[in-house]
Every structure is written in C-alpha cells, then in structure tokens.
Symmetry: C2
Amino acid sequence: MRYSSGAVEALIEEFAKLPGIGRKTAQRLTMHVLHERRSEVEKLASALIDVKEKVIRCSVCQNITDLGVDPCHICTSAGRDRSVICVVESPTEVLAFEKTGHYKGLYHVLHGVISPLDGVGPDDIKVRELIARIGVDSTGGVREVVLALNPTVEGETTSLYISKLLKPLGINVTRIARGIPVGAELEFIDEATLSRAMEGRSAI
Amino acid sequence: MRYSSGAVEALIEEFAKLPGIGRKTAQRLTMHVLHERRSEVEKLASALIDVKEKVIRCSVCQNITDLGVDPCHICTSAGRDRSVICVVESPTEVLAFEKTGHYKGLYHVLHGVISPLDGVGPDDIKVRELIARIGVDSTGGVREVVLALNPTVEGETTSLYISKLLKPLGINVTRIARGIPVGAELEFIDEATLSRAMEGRSAI
C-alpha cells in the first residue's frame, strides 16, 4: 500500500534503506520531515551531501578528516606524543579513545580487519600505509604501536599479522588489555574474559 | 568530544535531531552514509527536499498529495463510494485504512484533534473544511460520516464536537467500533475496552 503522495513514499523508501530503520520508523521520520520547517530539512539534506563531498582520509593516519585539513588535526597537533601509534579498525574507535581524554599518542585507522571469509585480505585494509608510515619515521620516531582491534577472531588475526610485520622493524608492539570491564560483576563475566583477566593480572 | 571531520559531526547533529534517533544511532547512520555510494546519498537528500517542495494537501480531503495532483487520487477515484467520509487525525491513518483494502469511501484528514491543554482549538484543525465539503455535497452526496479518531480524551472530545456539528445537517454520524482486537486474549484486556466490547455486542 502506498501513501497518497509519491514524494512521501520515496522518502520513506530512502529512510528505510538506512541500517536499523524499518518501514514503521521510516514512516515516522517522514511524517516528522513533513511537519518540520523547510530550513531544518535543508540543513539535513546539505549535511548529507557535504559528508560525501568534503570528507577525505588523512594521508598519514587514514582517519576521516575534512577537505583541506590533511594531515588531520590529530596528526599535526603539537600536543601529541609522536612516538606511539594506536591502531584501530574504524574512525568510531578513534572517537572512543579521544573521549577518554587519556591517550595522547597518534592513531592509525585500518578501515577494516583481515577476514578471509568476507574476502578481505591484508591489502584491502590500510596495513601497508602503517608500515610505510613507520618506515618514514624510523629515524627514531615511532617507539610503540598499540593494537586496539576488536576482540573477535578477525581482530585477533589482524593483530597477529601486524605484530609479525612490525617486530622485525624493532618496534615495540603491544595490545590493549583484555579483562573485566569497570562496573561489571564477576559472576556474569564469561570464562574467556575471566581467563584473560587472570593472565593479565598486575601488581597493585 | 568531536569527530575529526566537521562535516561528519554536522551530519551526526542533524540526524540526532530526528525523533527517536539518539547520538549513538546518529553516529551509526553517519558512518553508513560515509561508506554508502554517493548516488544513494544524493537520492536521500533530494527525497528530503522533494517532500518539502512537492507535498501539498488535497483541497478536498486535506490528505497529503503531490503538487499537481489536487484533488488527490482517492478523491477523484471513480471506484470510491462518495456517500461515506471517514474522518481521521492524520495521513498515517488513511494509509492504515487503505492497507485493509476494505473501506471504499472517501476520507477527511483533520491534521490534529481538539486539545485545549495544547492550545489546539476547533479552528486549528480541518473541521471547517469538513463542514464546507459536506455543505457543497448536501444535494444528497454524503450520507454518512464515520469518525475514526484515536480513543484518547482528545479524540473523544473531537468526535463529540464534530457529531454535534453534523447531526443538524441530517448526516448519519457513526464511529468505528471499540472492542477486542483480533488475536487478543480476553484475560489481558483492560476493563474499559471490555465494557465497550460488551456494549457494542452484535448478533452472529
């Protein structure tokens, strides 16, 4: 069944293509757009186009940045520790680490992990760029690479692959700790996490 | 904390303004847009603008329709029973009735219900247009007006108000049945619905 307006129906269909948005939600969003001021809707439409037009990848860390801001502001910041690179899967994780306000090093975004089942090999992600970047800085720049990939099979495989490539270069390769999340109850933590937490115990 | 791209941050903010979309979902949608083909994103952007540019209200039933299709295709359809008008609150309800494929009459969309607490009076919704429409057709056109407003206090008030206006015109005013939804279990039905269901019992 279709709405009495083709334009409305078209917008519902476009909204419903977005991830996690079903037809009911798409209808609700469309009704909202119908009642919203035109200027607000235009802002959303142009923000959409802007993202496709203006967002590029930083030539150093591969994180997303705006056209004209390359290298990105993290790579050019004077306040960052240039001897540490944190390797993450996607820009979202950069944001997650930045939110902590704790980490002061640089980043490298792989834009994926090695996943043979999905046909993603080492050349499909930004591993080569990482090696090249460390090669350039090998005059003593980068001292440590922290692998912060998701604790999945693919993430682990990618971590292993990168560490094997980097160790011959004399780089200190580490990975973020696996253990009990803050606020969790031990009773409900799975066995694998508990074992990792026990392995990774430290003096207090 | 902000993303390293202003364009990305702007889109997240715009998405987060939509109803039911929080910041996390807005981030996820933005990441999707970032990876989506440009042509697809442009389709969404232009569908948004189209809705603001092309959608108008049918001058007869007040339902939404496209520019150039006024009266709307339901109002002009030769296959509809022109003697019955179903009064609903919004275009979404027209769609709901159309989906049933059962109702063959016309519609009238009020675009709201009388709600003194929200400052919505009879003149803020399309009641006058309904009366005018029936007046025009009073040569014997409209025989019945079915009130299909939501069973809220505001909906009931509006139903009462409209029925008082229409009865002097010699129009048969009805309301859709309140009772047990199909598939429900009597045990879990609230008292008010059960009483209405009992009141509205019919011979089988």
